[in-house]
């Protein structure tokens, strides 16, 4: 299948479609032409611009929000096992 030239002058994206593209955009996974089209939409649509900023904020601020630490007694027992096993 031949690559069809992308129509960069086609009509504006709908917001309902934009909200599904923001993660691909933030991940750098959108083809360049699609990314530019999205940016043109964002420049004129405060709702979608807010949406993008909210997802970006969520992506960037969840570090350590939940803690799944391994129980200390299990950890210490494993390390003791390691010593026994390797020094056998």
């Amino acid at each position: 299948m031949a690559d069809e030239p992308r129509d960069t002058h086609s009509e504006d994206l709908a917001c309902v479609a934009v909200v599904e593209l923001v993660t691909d955009y933030l991940e750098g996974a959108l083809p360049a032409a699609d990314a530019r089209r999205l940016e043109r939409h964002l420049a004129t649509c405060p709702g979608c611009a807010d949406y993008l900023e909210q997802l970006r904020a969520i992506a960037g601020s969840l570090k350590g929000v939940t803690d799944e630490s391994f129980p200390a007694e299990m950890r210490d027992a494993l390390i003791a096992d390691f010593r026994d096993f390797r020094n056998r």
Partner: protein, 237 residues
């Protein structure tokens, strides 16, 4: 061919482990166990079962490290052992799907990031598919989203996610893994990884938004009426 992933800090530990260096083993256990619990939780029904699976994995690692050939990163190797053991343990309990199948099941269903009723219909004359109810703004403390009560809202939202979504957002955003590391450890495609991440982040956003309430509805009727009025005036001229 060189491995596509930069393995980072683990590789220097392999020789130390083979020498029987317990500090190196402790470093590895501390570094990876939290993420391992998150991954195991996708397969087994309880936290206790997940911890047990992680424990079994470390035992397998200490016994098998001499046979580690470095074809994959140490981290990938450890997580492959983990997912195999978790799947076996999940089979004893109630589920035994490989993560890729879980991911496929969650990504083949369609899911809107935002309630479709918040947009105008596609056939709307002037603003098809545009916002009716805009994203609500929420207060962001200087310290970030996790400073205040939002932390609990976010933690609860993550806990309620379907397992594949929960695992991907936990590894990417909570543990800080790269997309490539997640794809490699969970054996899923880059595309599915992004879909799961997008859905998970969107659900977290929705949870924060509904916690803060107040959404702003756009009065398109007024805007449309204005436009129609202009049109009629033109026609009657």
């Amino acid at each position: 061919m060189p491995r596509s992933i930069t393995h980072g800090q683990d590789e220097g530990l392999v020789a130390a482990l083979c020498r029987g260096d317990a500090d190196a083993f402790a470093t590895l256990v501390d570094r990876h166990s939290p993420a391992m619990i998150r991954v195991a939780m996708a397969y087994v029904p309880t936290r206790a079962a997940a911890e047990e699976t992680v424990q079994e994995t470390w035992i397998a690692v200490m016994r098998g490290i001499d046979g580690f050939e470095g074809r994959a990163s140490l981290k990938t190797w450890i997580f492959r052992i983990l997912t195999n053991l978790a799947m076996r343990s999940g089979a004893r309990e109630r589920r035994s799907m490989p993560f890729s199948a879980l991911a496929a099941a969650e990504t083949t269903t369609s899911e809107s990031s935002v309630d479709p009723d918040r947009f105008l219909p596609a056939r709307h004359e002037h603003f098809p598919g545009h916002w009716v109810i805009m994203p609500a703004r929420w207060p962001t403390p200087e310290e970030g989203l996790l400073a205040g009560e939002t932390r609990e809202v976010i933690a609860a939202a993550i806990a309620e996610l379907p397992p594949a979504q929960r695992t991907v957002i936990a590894l990417r955003d909570v543990e800080g893994w790269s997309a490539e590391e997640v794809c490699e450890a969970l054996e899923i495609s880059a595309g599915n990884q992004r879909i799961l991440l997008h859905r998970a982040r969107s659900r977290v956003r929705n949870a924060i938004e509904s916690y803060y309430g107040a959404v702003e509805e756009i009065d398109y009727e007024a805007i449309t009426a204005e436009l129609m009025g202009e049109k009629k005036e033109e026609e009657s001229e």
